[in-house]
């Protein structure tokens, strides 16, 4: 899976719910927006190894 976290690209194997992916990465689902293959998804959506995932932190200060 190609997974970009806050602009940094990474590759790893994962198949399951977005929520589980975020838990694995130690990210709270409430502070990020997740796009799969360019579309915003919910944490209940499922992803697999062929997906391009983008995780962007959106809860910021200022």
């Amino acid at each position: 899976m190609q997974c970009t976290i806050n602009g940094k690209k990474d590759y790893f194997t994962f198949s399951g719910q977005v929520k589980e992916l975020l838990q694995k990465l130690g990210i709270n689902e409430q502070i990020v927006i997740v796009k799969v293959n360019g579309k915003i998804v919910t944490e209940l959506d499922k992803v697999n190894d062929s997906d391009i995932v983008e995780i962007q932190k959106v809860i910021l200060g200022g």
């Binding site: 927006i33 998804v41 919910t42 209940l44 959506d45 932190k57 809860i59 910021l60 200022g62």
Partner: protein
Amino acid sequence: MAVRDGKMVKCSLCNKSAVIHLSYANSSLCEKHLIHSVERRVKRTIREYKMLDGAKHIGVAISGGKDSQVLLYILHKIAKPMRIKVTAILVDEGIEGYRDKIIPEAKKLTSDLGVPLEIVSFKELTNYSLDEIMKMQKNQRGESSCTFCGVFRRYAINKVAKMLKVDRLAIGHNLDDMVQSYMMNILRNEDLLFRFKPIGGAIEDERFVMRIRPLFRIPEKEIAVYAVLKGFKSVFVECPYVNEGLRPMVRDFVNSLESKYPGTKFKILQNYLEVSKKISDQFYSSEEGKKINSCSICGEPTSSSVCKTCSLLSKLLRKE
């Protein structure tokens, strides 16, 4: 209830792919229904709290971040048919690499909406940018950047709002901001509960412009998704001082609670509204609540003899 079709979650109100899952309501919404839901709840809040009753000119405090962009966009949409004038007010704290990236986006949004933009800087008002203040504070156990920023920003916005003669000042505080501020008040044992009321401020006085917080019941994530769907820029620009102070810890704690016990944020907000109402009634019927002074240094209204802005500046200059 969220409906799953294969690996995609469907909107609870139609058959389209969902863009957000609302655990507290056990439902999911597609792009169209999330936008509709956020706007409907903001309108309901404005109506319920009579936020715009009799208003002729609203000042919208914008930082260029997602909350204030969404606030400006929705308020402009609501105010236009009501023939209420809207002016955006942006405070430039003087944070290199942050505010200079955001100002052009704020100018673009206000220009697209046809809303006048008034920019005021900390430097103009206090002679110091936030970066300069933090350099002066270096190696000293002084106040956090967020304390200076919050106090000076309130001072600046109120000053500009009075200059523009606006009769409402809209602030983009969302549900998460309200809950975090309430929790921080408890943790610091401060009595600033009225400062975050949905309508009005810490002190009721004609020298303060009436503040309204139309987003106070909207969770931050819903605002973020709304902003991304509307194509607002600057959503991902982070303040370099964001990890200072107590707020980030409180934010993480509340978010962990919300993930484990959905609806926690709304319950904390409800508790805040009930507690602040009781304390507010008691405060305003007391002598202390009726007493408003003028700051002996700048003349701005304050409950003490010197306002918080002048007090912070005096402390800073003593350390210099």
